[in-house]
């Protein structure tokens, strides 16, 4: 990927992005869906999936929650 393409990808914003508040509010529901069927999670909560792909901190929280579920349950 060239410099312009990388910049374009970084600047690209998706209007479906639900933002951090909504993503965090649904994180436990989304995490259980992801653990069972990632495709279904993205389909059912497209705006959350878009946000988690764009927001590093929220994505990190999802990864941490999945790790906790795998370790403890």
């Amino acid at each position: 990927m060239g410099a312009r393409e990388r910049l374009d990808a970084f600047l690209d914003t998706d209007p479906r992005d639900v933002g951090c508040d909504r993503a965090v509010e649904l994180l436990h529901v989304y995490a259980e869906l992801v653990a069972g069927d990632p495709g279904a999670a993205e389909e059912q909560y497209a705006g959350v999936a878009v946000h988690l792909a764009a927001c590093g901190p929220c994505h990190e929280d999802l990864v941490g929650l999945l790790a906790a579920m795998a370790a403890e349950d």
């Binding site: 312009r4 990388r6 600047l11 529901v29 906790a68």
Partner: protein
């Protein structure tokens, strides 16, 4: 507490024991705390924070204790959309994020006497061999930032994108929310892109909004 689905057996057991009237309430709280502390420690290690030793363990204890308080305060809002444990673990993960954001400012940082625009190509993963294009990229983005963003958007964009300051650290310092900081950067990205499309550096083919 209205549940949207029949809870699993473990969820029923946790909800029973977390009832303040339960005879084994204190034992239940202790078990939950022990589990949250274990998760906080694991999460802090997973995030590869430079914090170590007693300070790291102290952060884990703080995260677990604050998560317990948040869980008890919000127990009435649990609707059974997930298992209770998944819902509860979310609180301690969020507390870890928050604690790390606050801790960011305890580490001495260099004085920012410039915006560090030269770091932008690296942060975007631009191939070092594309030096000429990288210089042009910095120039057009800088012009767009100076020409289209508000002072607040510019300041946050520079901190997050050029200096790599975590969103949660800005939240902790400014007393704002992650959502508000994210929205500021989101709007900045959208405005910069629109400016770069307008000046022909980027194209808008096949895009909406």
């Amino acid at each position: 507490m209205g549940l949207v689905a029949d809870p699993d057996e473990e969820t029923v057991a946790w909800l029973r024991v977390l009832d303040r009237e339960a005879a084994d309430h204190d034992d239940g709280l202790a078990r939950l705390h022990e589990r949250l502390l274990r998760i906080a420690r694991a999460e802090l290690h997973r995030r590869r924070t430079p914090i170590a030793g007693p300070e790291l363990d102290d952060l884990a204890h703080q995260a677990a204790a604050d998560a317990i308080l948040a869980i008890l305060a919000k127990l009435d809002t649990f609707r059974g959309e997930s298992r209770f444990t998944t819902w509860a673990y979310r609180f301690v993960i969020l507390e870890v994020s928050s604690k790390l954001g606050r801790h960011h400012w305890r580490t001495p940082t260099a004085t920012w006497d410039e915006d560090r625009w030269e770091t932008l190509p690296d942060r975007l993963g631009v191939d070092p061999h594309e030096q000429a294009e990288a210089r042009r990229l910095v120039e057009v983005v800088r012009d767009a930032v100076d020409g289209t963003l508000t002072d607040h958007q510019r300041a946050v964009f520079v901190e997050v994108v050029l200096h790599g300051v975590p969103l949660d650290a800005i939240c902790a310092r400014d007393g704002t929310t992650r959502s508000a900081v994210y929205k500021t950067v989101f709007d900045a990205r959208r405005k910069i892109r629109a400016a770069l499309v307008a000046n022909g550096y980027l194209t808008d083919a096949g895009r909406e909004g």
